[in-house]
Each structure stands twice: as C-alpha cells, then as structure tokens.
Symmetry: D2
Subunit: 295 residues, 4 copies
Amino acid sequence: MAKIAFFGLGNMGASMAKNLVKAQFNVTVFDLVGSQVQLLAEAGAIPSSSVKQAVESAEIIISMLPAGKHVESLYFDEDGIVNNISAKSLFIDCSTIESNTAKSIGARLQAHGHRFIDAPVSGGVAGAAAGTLTFIAGGEKVDFDEAQSCLQAMGKNIFHAGGIGAGQVAKICNNMLLAILMAGTSEALQLGIDNGLDPKVMSDILLQSSGRNWTLELYNPCPGVMANVPSSNDYQGGFLVDLMNKDLGLAMGTAANNQSVVPLGQLAKSLFQMHGNAGNGKLDFSSIFNAYKHG
Amino acid sequence: MAKIAFFGLGNMGASMAKNLVKAQFNVTVFDLVGSQVQLLAEAGAIPSSSVKQAVESAEIIISMLPAGKHVESLYFDEDGIVNNISAKSLFIDCSTIESNTAKSIGARLQAHGHRFIDAPVSGGVAGAAAGTLTFIAGGEKVDFDEAQSCLQAMGKNIFHAGGIGAGQVAKICNNMLLAILMAGTSEALQLGIDNGLDPKVMSDILLQSSGRNWTLELYNPCPGVMANVPSSNDYQGGFLVDLMNKDLGLAMGTAANNQSVVPLGQLAKSLFQMHGNAGNGKLDFSSIFNAYKHG
Amino acid sequence: MAKIAFFGLGNMGASMAKNLVKAQFNVTVFDLVGSQVQLLAEAGAIPSSSVKQAVESAEIIISMLPAGKHVESLYFDEDGIVNNISAKSLFIDCSTIESNTAKSIGARLQAHGHRFIDAPVSGGVAGAAAGTLTFIAGGEKVDFDEAQSCLQAMGKNIFHAGGIGAGQVAKICNNMLLAILMAGTSEALQLGIDNGLDPKVMSDILLQSSGRNWTLELYNPCPGVMANVPSSNDYQGGFLVDLMNKDLGLAMGTAANNQSVVPLGQLAKSLFQMHGNAGNGKLDFSSIFNAYKHG
Amino acid sequence: MAKIAFFGLGNMGASMAKNLVKAQFNVTVFDLVGSQVQLLAEAGAIPSSSVKQAVESAEIIISMLPAGKHVESLYFDEDGIVNNISAKSLFIDCSTIESNTAKSIGARLQAHGHRFIDAPVSGGVAGAAAGTLTFIAGGEKVDFDEAQSCLQAMGKNIFHAGGIGAGQVAKICNNMLLAILMAGTSEALQLGIDNGLDPKVMSDILLQSSGRNWTLELYNPCPGVMANVPSSNDYQGGFLVDLMNKDLGLAMGTAANNQSVVPLGQLAKSLFQMHGNAGNGKLDFSSIFNAYKHG
C-alpha cells in the first residue's frame, strides 16, 4: 500500500485519516494542533511533528484545509512540503477552494515534477465519519486512477469531472444549484401553504411531478414533512448556512472568471447571505424556509 | 356509465374527449368551432349545437378552456350551462386558471346546488393524446372520488391537492418550481461549460449529487446530452416558453393574493419573459439555456 | 365656487377636505365614521348622514378611500352615488387603486353621463395637512382643467399624466422606481461602509456623481447623514414599509396587465416584503437600509 | 512645477497627459506603443523610450492602465518604476482597478518609502479631452492635497473618499448604483409605455417626483425624450455596455471582500451581462432600455 502523508486533522480531516488507517494504509499525519495528531496516533496513524518529518517517505500527499491560501502555504512555504519532499509524489487536495487557485497549485506542482488532483468532498462530518463522502475530482485520468484506492477508503461516490480544477468547478456548480433548489422549493411550498395547502400533500405531488428535486426527495425544508432531516429538528446540524455562503461565494468567484451569467445563483446568494446576517449562520441551510414565512 | 357533457375541443380537449369515448363513456360535445364538434362526432361522441342541447341529460360537465373568463362565461352566461341544466351535476374544470377564480366559480356552482372540482392538467398535447396526463385536483374528497373514473380515462397520475382551488394552486406551485429548476440547471451547466467542463460529465455528476432534479433526469436543456428531448431537436415541440410565461403569470397572481414572497419565482418569470420577448416564445421552455450563452 | 361632496375622511382625506373648506369651497362630507364627519363639520364643512344626502346638490365628487373595491362600492352600490345624484358631475378619485379598476370605473361613469379623473396623491399625511400634496392625474384634458382649482387647494404639484387610469399608472411607476432607488442606494452605501468609507463622505460624492437620486438628495437612508429624515429618527414616521408594499403590489399587478418585464421592481418588492414580514412594516421604508447590515 | 512621469497613453491617458502639458507641467511620457509617445511629444511632452528613462527625475508618477495587473507590473517588475526611480515620489494611479489591489499596491509603495493615491476617473473619453473628468481619490489627506494641482489640470470635480483604496470603492459603488438607476428607470418608463403613457410626459413627472435620478436628469434612456444623449443617437458613443460590465464585475469583487449583500447590484449585473452577450457590448449602456421592450 502507498505511504500517505495526511495534513489537516479538523472535524472532516481527522475522520478521513482514520478511515485510511482502517483501510490498512500507512498514514503519517500532521496538524498544527498537536492534540489532533495525538488523537490520530491513538487510532493507528504515525504522528509527526513537522511537515518535513511527515513527508519524508511519502508517496501520496492528502490535504484537507479551510481555504486556498492554507493549501498554498502548506505546499509552497519554505518549510512546506515541496521544499522537503524527496519523491515525486501525487498530491490530493480535498479542500474546497477556488478552481483558479487549484489550477495554479497544479501548475506549480507539475513544475516541480509532482502530480496533482483537486478532490473536494461533499457529505459533511457525518459522511466523513462513515466513510461515505462524495469526491468530485479534477486532474489527469492516470492520476485520478492512482488516487482511487485512497478515495474509496474515505468515500462512496468518486467522480472524475475533468482536468485539474474541474473538481472544484463541478462541486461549486452543484452547490450553487442546490442552493437554488432549496430556496426555490421553500418558496413553492410556502406559496402553497399561504393558499391553504398541506405541505405534506404538496410535497407528495411535487415529488411525482416536474418540480421533483433532491431537496424534496431527501431533505424537505418544511418542518414535519419528513422525519430525520434538519427541518424536523429545529434546523440543527446538517450543512450550515455559513458553509453554504462560503460555497456560494466561491461560485460567484468562479462565475467572475468568465463573466458567466448566474442570476438565480446570485439571488440565492443574497437570500442565504441575508439569512445568515440575520443570525441564522449556524443553522442548517434548509432553514432558508423560515425566510419565506409570512405574518 | 355517467353521462358527460364536454366543452372545449382544442388541441388538448379534443384528445381528452376522444379518450373518454374510448373508455365507453357517453360523451356529448360542444365547441364554438363546428368542425371540431364534427371531428369528435366521427370519433363516437354525440355532437351538439348549443350549450343547452349539450347539457340536457348530463350528469358530469367537463371543460377545457384557455382562461378563467371563458369558464365563467360558459358556466354562468344567460345561455350558459347553469341556466340550462336540469340535474344537480358535478362540474370538472380542467383548464388552468387563477385559483381565486376557481374558488369563486365553485362557490357560485354550490349556490346552485352543483358540485365542482378544479382539475388542471400537465403533460401537454402528447399526454392528452396518449391518455397519460397528470391531473392535480381540488375539491371535496367525495367529488374527487366521483371524478376518478373520468380522470383515469384521460390521465395516469391523479392527485387530490385539497379543497376547491387547491388543484390550481398546486399546479402553479409546481410549474413555478419547474421554471426555477430549468433556469437554475441551465445556469449551473453553463457555468461548468464556461470553465471547461463537459456538459454530459457535469450532468452525470449533478444527477448523482444534491443538484439532482427532474430537468436533469428527463429534460436536460443542453443540446446533445440527452436524446429525444427538445434541446436535442432545436428546442422544437415540448412545453412552449409562451405557456410557461402564462403559468408564471398565474403564479405571480397567486402570490399576490397573500403578498407571498417569491423572489426566485419572480426572477425566473423575468428571465422567461425576456426570453420570450426576444422571439423565442414558440420554442420549448428548455431553450432558456440559450439565454445563458456566452460570447 | 363648485359644490363638492367629499367621501373618505381618514388621516389623509380629513386634512384634504379641511383644505378645501379653507379655500372657501362649499364642501359636504360623508364617512362611515360619524365622529370624523363631526370633526369636519367643526372645521366648516357641511355634514351629511348618507351618501344620498351628501350628493344632493353636488357638482364635484371627491373620494379618498383605501382600495378599488371601496371606490366601486361607493360609486355603484344601490345606495351609492350614481343612483342618488341628479347632476352630471365630475368625479375625482384620489385613492391609490389599480389602473385597470380606474379605467373600468371611468367607463361606467361615462356610461351614466358623468366625467372622471383618477388623481392619486403622494406626500403623505404631512403633505395632506400642509396642502402640499402631489397629484398625478389621468383623464380628459378638459376635466383635468376643471379639477385644477380643487386640486390646487389640496396640493402643490399637479400633473396630467394622460387619459383615465394614467394617474394611477404614473404614480405606481414612480413608486416602484422609488423603491428601487431606496434599496439600491442603501446597497451602495452599505457596500462603501463595509469597505471602510464614511457614509457622509460617500453620500456627498454620490450626490455629485451619476449615482445622484432623490433618496440621496432628500431622504438618506443611513442614520446620521441627514437631520430631519426618518433614518435619523429610528425610522419613525414617513412612508411606511407596509404602504410601500401595497404600492409595489399594485405595480406588479400593473405589470401583469401586459406581461411587462420588471425584474428590479420584482426584486425590490421581495426585499421590502421580507423586510415587512420580519416585523418592520410600521417603520419608514428607508429602514430597508437595515436589511443590508452586515454582522 | 512638479516633474511628472506619465504612463499609459491610450484614449483616456493621451488626453490627460496633453492637459497636463497645457497646464505647464513638465511631463515625461512612456507607453509600449511608440506612436502614442510620439504623438504626445508633438504636443509638448518629453518622450522616453523606457520606464527607467521616464522616471529619472520624476517627482510625481501618474498611471492610466486597463487593469490592476498592468499597474502592478509597471510599478514592481524588475525593469519597473520602483527599481529604477531615485526620488521618494508620489504615485497617482488613475486606472479603475480592484480596491484590494490598490491597497496592496499602496502598502508595497509605502514599504519603499513612496506615497500613493488611487484616483479613478469618470467622464469618459470626452471628459478626458475637455479636462472635465471627475476624480474620486483615496489616500492620505496630505498626498491628496499634493495631487490636487495635477488632478485639477485634468478634471473638474475632485473628491477625497478616504484612505488608500477608497477612491476605487467609491467609484465602483457609484457605478453600481448608476447601473441600478439606469435599468430601474428603463423598467419604470417601459411599464408606463406598456400602459399607454407618453415617455416624455412620464419622464417629466418622475423628474419632479421621488423617482428623480441622474439618468432622468441628464441621460434619459428612452429614444426621443432628450436630444443629445446616446438614446437619441441609436445608443452610439457614451459609456459602453462592456465597460459597465467591467465595473459591475469590480463591484461584485468588492462585495465579495466582506460578503456584502448586493441583490439589486447583482441583478443589474446579470441584466447588463445578458444584454452585452446578446451583441450589444459596444452600445451605450442606456441601451439596456431595449432589453425591456415588449412585443
């Protein structure tokens, strides 16, 4: 099995690294927070106390960090990976970052003889723990194939979206569309409710009609229609409004690359942003339903 | 079998009436266009030359007309149905009209001792011909049950949305949501394409992710992704932009009843309206994809 | 001086009628609320206890009511004006109602030999008291000219927008544009503030640049920039969010008449509607500035 | 008089440099296009054949370039200004660039002991030729004061918006608001026209009411209402749709800095972007009026 160096042991990363250990990979871990490194060591990973030590014999680098600048810093700083690794390696970045940053990182790595795929995830903390994440990857087909065994240890659905950066693009297009579906479905349901319809009956009809979409299937935003979704649990847990806003920000940045026209995406961003600004940032994003409520 | 009087033999109505005849109902037909009456007579219906004659022994009235004012006129004018029918009958209006108009029609009919359900359809001319329409009905449960055998002769999925007017509300909520799904999906696909992704690969990924919706499943707006959909046939046929605009107009009217908040629905309406105004009214509504194209 | 019968003695109407009295018109008043009639009697108007009595010798009818249905009822009910007036009179409706309703009222009055102008006002309760209202009138030029002396007793700027109904159209276009100006200006100011600019400096620059508009000139929405505007008085008084929402609803109805495209107007409506639904309906409409605040 | 080195002799820059020469400044010019340098030499400027030569004895640097990356390159490349200038100078960048880039440029210049103000302009090619540009500047007050005599040689209104970067912020807020005013006014005028009103009458009423704004005062978008504006000249000349789209892109980038909420600005951007994509990029931006036309 390939030797992996794993960087970024936050809520998501720690679970992902554990699943690699469980799958019998040889995993060396590093994080700025020592206690997280210790936690992984107890789970069977090899702890390290510096980037340099972590990458000593690594063949595959996996990173899971908050934003593009952190990835750039980890990879290219003087005491970063590229200056301290001996083998020509495959870098797999699972962070959600701007696609242009991913492309630029890929080019810089290639200039040093390394390979790169961007492989952002969806599925949240629960999916990370259960090993059921979705990975949407960008990069050369041969590199994608090489990454498969690692990714399958951490996730269930693994997609190859295209060249480097395509993983970020596809993820962000999906999440922008998801924001539109969630707000649009909330709007349609509340319009029905305002006119006397029962939300459960409405949902059943829409599900069997041309309004059908993922939110109606699995994540109904109206309390009481579905059990075991955030809307029936005071919008706790799930995918936070703040995180949706981060992704919508990335989508707008991606649109700006080519002056793409995204009117519904922009409006969804404003709606979620106002909803977050009104103090709902830590609620599940299906709480946008509340923004349509009607005195 | 109940004796039916059927009014409105346009593209949709003629096919619907034929399917009732095929199902062995006793169907008397009337339309202002005599040649359409003749056509149905050849198909086995009983022709009539006036409203009065058509309803003489009718127990069930079915109407399929362009707008609310036509239904009101047919039902309540001096030479209309109510003044010329003897039995207390069940009126089934399959037209797509304002929900408030449906409610007011229902109340007036009840004042005369009749019963009413509003039962707008979706599925288009093809669905009408094939007898596979979807009916979304509003009215008393007992009346809905009585209408079942007729509706099943003309359609496949028959929903009961609630009281009188609820059929119109549910249909219009569905179609507003559909407009949002179609425009939103077009936007997400084009954003991916602008950033170098293949629309077929993108569509596959979205379909298996949280962006999944009816348009990606059955009606992809990007040419070449799916066979046998309007987008792969120069956006001919299907559900016309002009008709989507009519339905979005009804949705906005329904929202105005209670000052409901429908920002995405409004924006979808503006996008489809501008698209129609630019000369695309007779194309399929998935042609909204073209509005996102990018020089 | 012409004999006037005045109907609708609410906050606005009572002040308007008083100003007519002050201007030496012979004014008979009627309202369903007897105490308001009494109030006007004390101010010098002739009280009446029924519509019939009020119009006995009237040459000019003025009405100031909440909505179109009230005007229709006052004019056309069995015990309404038309059935009880002897002279062929000039009806001046100062209510803000749907332009289509105004047109239909005008046509019905003309059928009875009367004349009609729609003359909705702006300027609010303060303008009504001070006699500085703006009237935007629709109707025949000759009727408009005849109405001038009355209107000038109650207002300062009197516009003739076109034929019957044009007053309503022009007023509603103005108020839709005003909503866009107020929200757009709030958005631009807050964007500057978010980036460290001083709102007073920003406002000065915008005022002398191509962003100049009425709200920056006279009604800055940012607290502290201008004295004596609602924003510097906790958004008390002024033009209520609820009233702006009423007018935006009329604008959307007017747009629906011809499927006009009004994307910014629609979005402004959603923003003001959400703002009102969040409990701000009784604040001045410049409080929309708060919707842009940013944690 | 201060010795000026001027960089960027395009349509705007060439006229600006000429006005400095006319005002008796000692102006050395450089541009990558030699013929433009020659042109300025004929107008009285001192030509130079390299950045190094241009800045030899310069005390004030003025740049007028297309985008932030050009400014960064001119200032900081190995053969750029900073590496080749001896005096501690005042840099005045008149380009329209991202405010964050302006801030970062300012910080880098300060680290080398230089001073910086960002001073983007409005007024277009005509204003540059006539010396009537508007400058909206950001930087220290003392630097702004020092720049005054130069700026006054090129323009008429000179504003100090705040610290470094504030000029860019204020300009972009103004232009975002202008886009909203122009589209909103078009929408209101067309709504009136659709309902039978005369655009000239409408414009007069709006101008004297709360819908008043700069576009109605000076730049009416409806053909025939005003003489000598682009709308009455087939939308030729003026401020191009493509340039408005560039500025709206900068506004969206500025909003993204702090996740500011700019729904109307976003929608205006989509409307202008779609209008440009439909082949209208080289028309004046008031041609957005055509997007509201109605079959």
